[in-house]
Amino acid sequence: MLLVSWSAFVLAPQLQLGGAKQVPVLNSTEVYPHTRPGEANQGLQVYRANGCAACHTEQVQQDGVACDVVLASAGKNPDAVSNLLATLTLRGLSQEAAQAVSDKITAAGGKVETHIVAVGPDIARGWGLRHSVAEDFLYDNLVQFGSLRIGPDLAGVGSRLPDANWQLLHLYAPQSVVKGSLMPPFRYLFTTRKIGAAPSPDALNLPKEFAPADGYEVVPKPEAKELVAYLLNLHADVPLYDAPFTPVVVAKP
């Protein structure tokens, strides 16, 4: 009995995933994932040591996929196409519906692209572009899935909030950047010291109510910088075979 459950939940996953390799990114010659830089890897250890996973998950969920129909060019008869577009639903369609819509637009002379998008509350909140998959964690020697969302999911926080200074401010005084945040401040990852000959370039630019006394500055300890490097490195945002979506290329106006 013990052997059955061990084989199913220890041996079998190891046989299936223990030799996993990088996988190709959809519609591209790139492979995924890449190892995290050293500082980010150390940051993962800071994340572990401080028990961040007690409040944050790193697993975006999705309910499924849907199709968005995007107009690529209006063709020779833009008025007819735009009149037609006004009557159609273009987002969140099933494959058949998307096909029907694009047929109509094509018949009117427009050119369309069909984009695959992930759907679900996590995706709608902007926590990620697709659900998390095993590949995202291939090179992490410590997988911090977490199980409770006291704070938001962090699987894609590097894409969502890519500003290192914002992250440092948020660690030092969460309420200074997110009003009413429940997150405890991590002031012990910073040093408050007298300003020397010149202010440190690392010193935090804090709002008044959170700033130290005059003549003092708050500088991050190495742990804080590593943690931020790790957070910024969290971006599971490429389409894969088991988690497809169409990357949105920002159109130039």
């Binding site: 939940f9 220890v10 190891q14 996973a53 095993a134 945040s181 401040p185």
Partner: protein, 493 residues
């Protein structure tokens, strides 16, 4: 011969030869377990208080998040895992081991030999818990839920468990031929289960880590096997011993128990990976299937409890051990039903990543297991030590605080979890609102934790008073031996 000893003959030893049916075995058997039990239960009581304090402190961080930012050990990420582990490893496992040791000795009518080894091992165990908790606070946690203790602490725990388990099994194998009861199956299975899952998890996650998400799969498998299966086996093993003893009616029935045992073990061990996890889909699917099938043993176990207890004469007067063990039994059925519910896709979707899961774990660990252990320890310890509790009236108060606190804690977290889940699943609600929706429920849960702290303190008070009384009786015995007049035969003329 007390009522309980009579019952012991009737139900504990139903298949023991008639010549052995007397109660004279009980006092020497109880006395042989005395010192190991005092060490196991004494340490457990201490860690229970520590755990309650830590859980309360962790809960307070939500009400004043700004106050805890200047030292690393004051953050929720340190306090909460430490509180959880102090409850599980500090209280639940040593209490369960002590109760198992005693039940083996009682059912097998065999005094525990070489009690020094479990005494040393129990000290090692508590030392391991101390090392592990300090490890969490200095940032040496492994980062996996229920497995946070760094390797020094977990190695100590592993060897201490092996020693105690070995002694329990030696005592078990020394029982008279044919003396095999339902409690035996559950407890023996649990004795084997822990070293197996604990070594696997520590070797493959901490020692020589496997790659990527397999770590998380093993951690989930371990967590479920320990939190759900191990506690269920030990708690039910104890309940199946005590319920017939108190109700005065044999376990209803042997075959139901046999069926429940195998189905619980099979379905209970093959699960743990939550749905939606970023792992191959067959893992959560297999886990959910088995969670759903848990309904089979749960129904059978509920029937066993019902038929054994309801309508039976019961002990004379109110017995708090009996009420606690019955309460624990009901909590088990509820907790297992919640597990079944959480395996249904719709409900899983609603409750995942919310406090609902925490509520279920608390119901299992505290509502079922810890309260069953309170009842068992309150029954066992006075018999093993031969001294009554110093504050017997406080046992009722302790019982009330534990039950009420637990109900408040679990109900508020479960209701809050559903409220939180509804908001999390609605993308039009800002995430911050889902956290804020929890605040009211978290305040209620803090009240529950306060009551649980009171219950822990009262429990520890009685246990520590008993340990003091026992030490004092030793001192008195030695003193009496020293000052006693010499027998006439030894007096030389």
């Amino acid at each position: 011969m007390t009522v309980n000893d009579k019952l012991d003959n009737k139900f504990g030893g139903a298949s023991v030869p008639a010549s052995q049916l007397d109660s004279s075995f009980a006092p020497p058997v109880d006395a042989s377990c005395r010192v190991p039990l005092l060490v196991l239960f004494g340490g457990a009581a201490l860690w229970l208080v520590v755990s309650s304090l830590l859980a309360l402190a962790a809960s307070l961080t939500f009400h004043m998040p700004d106050k805890f930012g200047d030292c690393s050990w004051g953050t929720y990420g340190h306090l909460q895992p430490a509180a959880d582990d102090a409850l599980l490893y500090g209280f639940c496992i040593p209490a369960g081991l002590g109760v198992a040791l005693w039940i083996f000795a009682r059912l097998g009518r065999t005094p525990l030999r070489g009690a020094l080894v479990p005494v040393v091992a129990a000290h090692l165990w508590h030392l391991g818990v101390l090392v592990g908790l300090v490890g969490i606070f200095v940032g040496d946690s492994t980062g996996f839920a229920w497995l946070e203790f760094p390797r020094g602490g977990s190695a100590l725990l592993f060897f201490a468990y092996l020693l105690i388990g070995l002694w329990a099994l030696m005592n078990f194998s020394g029982r008279p031929a044919g003396a095999m009861f339902p409690s035996h199956w559950f407890l023996v299975a649990a004795l084997f289960l822990f070293p197996w899952i604990y070594s696997t998890a520590n070797i493959l996650i901490v020692g020589w880590p496997v790659r990527g998400v397999v770590q998380a799969v093993i951690a989930w498998w371990f967590g479920n096997n320990l939190i759900f299966l191990w506690t269920s086996l030990v708690g039910l093993g104890a309940a199946f011993y005590f319920l017939p003893k108190f109700s005065g009616r044999p376990l209803q029935t042997y075959f139901y128990a046999l069926f429940a045992f195998w189905t619980l073990f099979f379905f209970g061990s093959l699960r743990g990976v939550p749905s939606g996890a970023p792992v191959p889909a067959w893992l959560p699917t297999l886990g959910n299937l088995n969670s759903m099938l848990l309904i089979v043993p749960v129904i059978v176990i509920a029937i066993i409890g019902w038929k054994t207890v309801v309508g039976a004469a019961g002990p004379e007067g109110k017995d708090s051990s009996y009420s606690m063990i019955r309460f624990g039994f009901v909590a088990f059925v509820l907790s297992a039903l919640l597990q079944v519910a959480m395996s249904c896709p719709q409900f899983a979707r609603l409750t995942q990543f919310t406090w609902f899961g925490v509520a279920q774990t608390q119901l299992q660990l505290y509502g079922f297991f810890a309260i069953t252990m309170f009842g068992a320890i309150h029954y066992i310890l006075p018999r093993a030590v031969g001294i009554e509790f110093a504050f017997p009236k406080l046992i009722r108060v302790q019982q009330g605080c534990a039950m009420l606190g637990l109900i408040i804690l679990v109900a508020s977290l479960a209701a809050g979890g559903v409220a939180q889940g509804l908001k999390l699943n609605d993308p039009n609600v800002a995430f911050a609102d889902s956290s804020k929706a929890m605040l009211m429920f978290l305040r209620a849960s803090t009240t529950g934790l306060l009551l649980l702290l009171l219950a822990s303190l009262l429990f520890a008070l009685n246990i520590f008073a008993m340990i003091m009384a026992w030490h004092w009786s030793l001192v008195r015995a030695v003193f009496a031996a020293v000052v006693a007049p010499l027998p006439k035969t030894e007096v030389k003329a």
